[in-house]
């Protein structure tokens, strides 16, 4: 396994900052069929080779910085998470006696690409009778398409029985209104793909857990044996 943390507008154009990660189990991310995807990690300003993160980046890590977490398994690299840095808590540890330099620690909270929808606004009225696909695609085209979000998987043949007015509304709120109306879920994945799905139409992951493959589920993980709530 090899994880990488890259800063940059795309995974191909990212600066590898993995060596500045603090490997203490704080590199985490969460994904959900609701739109709230989060990630967090700790970084230090000087890596084991003595190279400065700030020098490498040309500045401190910044809010809004696009990042990519990739994993390489058997020579195949997969994007595990990507998004934008949301908050940074910087802590300075002064150098001790005999030291000329201190070190900085960056505690970073980040969000998935849906955070783009938080700061985009739609002003539009949609007549009744349009399909949800028409409404969703129009909002998408007017706003987040230009931000590099792609159209991944959107259900769209529900007819709107009433006019929809967004005057103005953040894209997040507009999609949330549609989510309530349609009883569907929406999210933007690690490859910047936009999903607006009816969960009953969820595609097959191809994963089967049966008696033969029960060990897929750990017995001694942090949450203990598999838990079933009903």
């Amino acid at each position: 396994m090899s994880l990488k943390l890259l800063f940059g507008p795309s995974v191909g154009a990212g600066i590898d900052v993995t060596s500045w990660l603090i490997a203490d189990g704080n590199l985490q991310w969460t994904k959900s069929v609701d739109q709230n995807w989060t990630a967090q990690w700790y970084m230090k300003s000087i890596n084991e080779s003595g190279t400065s993160l700030i020098t490498t980046l040309g500045g401190r890590p910044a809010v809004g910085q696009a990042f990519w977490i990739t994993e390489t398994l058997s020579s195949v690299t997969t994007v595990r998470f990507s998004g934008l840095i949301a908050t940074i808590l910087e802590t300075a540890y002064q150098g001790g006696a005999g030291y000329t330099k201190g070190i900085l620690q960056f505690q970073i909270q980040a969000a998935g690409w849906t955070t783009v929808c938080d700061h985009r606004v739609i002003v539009e009225t949609y007549d009744a009778g349009q399909t949800s696909l028409s409404v969703i695609t129009d909002i998408y085209n007017q706003t987040i398409a230009a931000d590099g979000i792609t159209f991944a998987d959107v259900d769209g043949f529900t007819l709107s029985p009433q006019p929809l007015t967004f005057n103005p509304t953040t894209v997040t709120d507009a999609f949330n209104q549609l989510r309530t109306l349609l009883q569907q879920q929406w999210w933007i994945d690690e490859n910047k793909g936009f999903h607006f799905k009816e969960l009953a139409l969820a595609p097959n992951s191809g994963i089967t857990i049966d008696n033969t493959h029960q060990n897929i589920m750990l017995q001694d993980g942090p949450t203990g044996p598999p838990q079933i709530t009903s």
Partner: protein, 410 residues
């Protein structure tokens, strides 16, 4: 089911009113003789029989001929004459009864406005039972298998005896944590990713009630506007061009369906297709109004090419063959493709207004059919939708799940 006896009066006997809105096709007898039943908006008007309309109290003889004063008319029909409906999941009631030793009934009340008839109310009830009638299971487990990280929003299949888990479970949440390795703690060189997966067998089916309400409301609106709407599906098949082509007009594919929605009074006919390829279809409709807007959208946009949509209106003389031939005059201003409805390369939707010739484009009127005697033979409008790709540059990818909408203001 209720039965109502009416003694035909001396005037306007071809038009009768029953006590409650009719929900399903009634049966009618005149002096004990069964009558043929037709439905407004579904069957062509003018036939020798009685026409009914869902949600309406009225019945009308198609040739506007009275049975005669004093004739006994008996109408037997279903009507939404109470303000509630009851729906039950008998399987779950029995299962609860076996577990609880009670009746097994978990009853609840849900109030909704704008239920036009019992069918919609029952659909709503059944939908709620589908969504919430089974106590869902939520499964949480840890794993090192990275495939789960890529499967948010997808389902896995359980067939696991120990926890009696079986069937589809949708992955709703995945939380990942890098676990540092003992020797090589850096994520770059060691450790592992531990995933905590949450999945559920709760099956939200989406708000089809809204869809159903929208559909029925719009159809009702259209019918009340003395119009009818129906769609013809074509059985011939075709496939989109695999390379960019300026003349790649596709042959017809089946799959057009018609829906409509607008409860504010402005009716709309909506052509939809769930086909993977760009369809070419036709729709017949008899209506009175003007085309005010057309739009096209695609779940997967065309790439490396533009998708050009033309809409042709056929004259009566052009409506030959079975199905009628795909010909006619474009509703768009003559000339370049840019005058038509063009879904540009890599774009998901586009709409056009007031670009028709003449504008607004008026479709055939039907206002006279209820008063003309003898009934006027109506030649319905026939519109043909044609699609073609025009190359731009690069690798071409055909659009998928294309929806063309034609909005008609009544």
């Amino acid at each position: 089911m209720r039965s109502q006896t009416i003694i035909i009066g001396a005037t306007d006997g071809f038009f009768q009113v029953v006590d409650f809105p009719i929900d399903t096709a009634p049966t009618i007898t005149l002096n004990g003789v069964a009558q043929t039943i037709y439905q407004f908006g579904v069957d062509a008007f003018g036939k020798a029989g009685w026409y009914w309309q869902q949600g309406s109290n009225t019945l009308q003889q198609g040739q506007q001929i009275s049975p005669g004063a004093g004739v006994t008319m008996v109408v037997t029909y279903n009507a939404l004459s109470q303000s509630f409906t009851v729906d039950t999941n008998a399987t779950q009631v029995a299962a609860r009864a076996a577990i609880e030793g009670t009746t097994g009934k978990w009853e609840n009340i849900d109030q909704q406005a704008n239920m036009p008839n019992a069918s919609v109310a029952h659909s709503y009830g059944q939908g709620n039972l589908t969504n919430f009638g089974v106590i869902p299971q939520i499964v949480v487990f840890d794993t090192y298998v990275s495939a789960f990280d890529e499967a948010v929003g997808e389902y896995i299949t359980f067939n696991y005896t120990l926890n009696a888990l079986s069937g589809k479970f949708i992955i709703t949440d995945v939380a990942a944590t890098h676990v540092p390795g003992m020797v090589a703690p850096s994520p770059a060189t060691g450790g592992a990713i531990l995933y905590t997966v949450t999945c559920t067998n709760q099956m939200y089916t989406g708000n089809y009630v809204q869809w159903f309400l929208g559909l029925t409301t719009a159809l009702k609106t259209a019918i009340q506007a003395a119009a009818s709407a129906n769609a013809t599906a074509n059985n011939s098949t075709g496939s989109p061009p695999t390379t960019p082509s300026a003349t790649g007009i596709q042959s017809e594919v089946e799959g057009w369906s018609i829906g409509a929605s607008d409860q504010t009074g402005a009716g709309a006919l909506v052509l939809t297709s769930s086909l993977a390829t760009v369809p070419v279809g036709r729709v017949n409709f008899q209506n009175s109004g003007s085309i005010t807007r057309v739009s096209v959208s695609a779940r997967i946009p065309p790439q490396g090419q533009n998708l050009v949509i033309d809409i042709l209106r056929a004259t009566a003389a052009q409506q030959t063959g079975s199905p009628p031939c795909a010909t006619g005059t474009s509703i768009f201003v003559a000339g370049a493709d840019s005058n038509k409805l063009v879904l540009p390369d890599s774009q998901c939707s586009v709409a056009k207004q007031t670009v028709f010739t003449p504008a607004p484009f008026t479709v055939v009127g039907m206002d006279t059919f209820t008063t003309a005697s003898p009934p006027v033979a109506i030649v319905p409008d026939l519109f043909t939708i044609q699609a073609k790709y025009v190359a731009t540059s690069g690798t071409v990818v055909n659009a998928q799940d294309v929806v063309v909408e034609i909005f008609i203001q009544f």
